[in-house]
């Protein structure tokens, strides 16, 4: 069974040093067979929540020139944080030692 959507975003981010939000969103939409603006915004909010909680860090940002999602939309580049990696271990999204915390 596929992981919960936020879990998929974390797993995907763990496979690269960093990714832009539109890249993550695109991969998630392919994975869960979804399309349309509603889901783009849905995954954007999920990324915001992950960043607020400290599981991922915003390491860059720029305005969309119209090629990613929509012109002048703010885009973020994310990287998984140490805490995010620990949470992935704790929640079984990543194999390894858990803190059980």
């Amino acid at each position: 069974m596929k992981p919960p959507q936020k879990g998929f975003l974390l797993i995907t981010l763990n496979q690269s040093p960093s990714l832009w939000d539109f890249e993550l969103i695109q991969r998630a939409m392919v994975e869960y067979e979804l399309q349309g603006h509603y889901w783009i915004n849905h995954f954007s909010i999920a990324l915001d929540e992950l960043a607020s909680a400290g599981l991922i860090n915003r390491i860059g940002y720029r305005l969309d020139d119209g090629e990613a999602i929509a012109k002048d939309r703010l885009l973020f580049e994310f990287a998984l944080s140490d805490f995010g990696r620990q949470r992935m271990l704790d929640t079984g999204l990543l194999d390894g030692v858990t803190t059980n915390d």
């Binding site: 919960p4 936020k6 915001d48 929540e49 607020s52 703010l74 620990q86 929640t91």
Partner: protein, 349 residues
């Protein structure tokens, strides 16, 4: 270019902050609204004929009512997540019990049996005003647990705002306490224990649920939480009461389900409760457990306002003072720079 980029960034954080506070405010409005049908239910059969001293029967009726309530709440959450297209994510989340959804099960134990039961104990053995006041302290518990457990940042502003809101709540309910506390009452300690249980239960619920929301969706999370609550009452508590006591669980169940008035109040209460809790959970992931719960505390104000709207009885003058305090406390919190709450925790990056 750089200026508009910075502005876009600021707008982004501000939007997030505004949504977080908006969800928290909806929690308070709907929680306040819930009190009208939630209280009205007690004036219908079978509740109205249960003697106030018959504690066993009262608790049994409460357990049955809480179970039916949770089932109807779940129905409204299924509609909500169905419309949002999140039902499949609910499935993916709830099956991961050992690592993820167990936290929602624990949250349901904290918010359900512990907090609700505690609150009923406080109401029954001391009085409703005492119950309302002790519940006001739940954001303090939530913020402390979130702070110690996963390092949620509690800024000076957030703490000050929270303190002012709690004070406002105490001004609204406090004066009613004088007529209520009776130190000669032998069982009053049960009420005090209940009051503490409700503050700890609701406070802990937010912190525990947030632990699971780290990796799952809040809308999905709340549906998991109520699924576990239904199981808890339905396959554990009610069967135990049925088997171990001679309280008429089945009769209570049938009486409630066949009473049109009880079911009308139940449906109204459940709509309010379902979307109150949805807003509650959504606010945590945007502004944190401490702030979300503190703004949620404004339910005290909205409860008085809704009761006023339905009974057309004006509240006492000190309500205005309490209102001013709670609104001031909310603004102290809301005026914190949006960038400050773009990351809610002090964690290793």
């Amino acid at each position: 270019m750089s200026l508009s980029l910075d502005k876009a960034l600021h707008n982004h954080f501000q939007r997030s902050q505004r949504w977080g506070f908006t969800w928290a405010l909806w929690t308070a409005v709907l929680w306040g609204a819930w009190y009208v049908p939630g209280t009205a239910m007690w004036y219908e059969e079978p509740f109205v004929s249960i003697h106030s001293g018959d504690h066993g029967m009262r608790l049994a009726a409460t357990a049955v009512m809480t179970w039916i309530h949770a089932v109807v709440v779940l129905l409204f959450l299924v509609i909500w997540n169905g419309m949002l297209g999140k039902l499949r994510d609910y499935g993916r989340t709830i099956v991961r019990f050992r690592r993820i959804s167990k936290w929602y099960a624990l949250a349901s134990l904290c918010g359900g049996p512990m907090a609700i039961f505690g609150s009923y104990m406080a109401m029954g053995y001391v009085g409703p005003v005492f119950a309302a006041i002790t519940s006001l302290f739940y954001p303090v518990v939530g913020a402390i647990i979130a702070r110690l457990w996963y390092h949620e940042k509690i800024s000076g502003r957030a703490a000050l705002g929270m303190a002012i809101i709690i004070m406002g709540g105490m001004v609204i309910y406090g004066p009613g306490l004088f007529g209520e506390i009776d130190i000669s009452e032998n069982y009053a300690w049960l009420g005090y224990v209940g009051g503490i249980m409700s503050a700890i239960g609701w406070g802990a619920e937010g912190a525990v649920a947030s632990r699971a929301m780290d990796v799952t969706d809040p809308d999905v999370g709340i549906q998991c939480r109520f699924s576990f609550e239904i199981l808890f009452w339905g396959i554990l508590v009610l069967p135990m009461i049925y088997l171990l006591t001679d309280l008429p669980i089945i009769t209570l169940l049938v009486d409630m389900l066949t009473s049109p008035m009880v079911m009308i109040w139940m449906v109204l209460a459940s709509i309010a409760h379902a979307y109150c809790y949805t807003s509650f959970y959504k606010s945590f992931s945007l502004i944190g457990v401490g702030r979300g719960e503190a703004i949620g505390n404004l339910y005290g104000v909205f409860a008085v306002l809704f009761v006023m709207a339905f009974t057309l009885e004006l509240p006492e003058w000190y309500f205005v003072l309490g209102l001013i305090l709670t609104v001031t406390g909310s603004f102290v919190m809301y005026r914190e720079p949006a960038e400050n709450i773009s990351t809610l925790r002090e964690v290793k990056s």
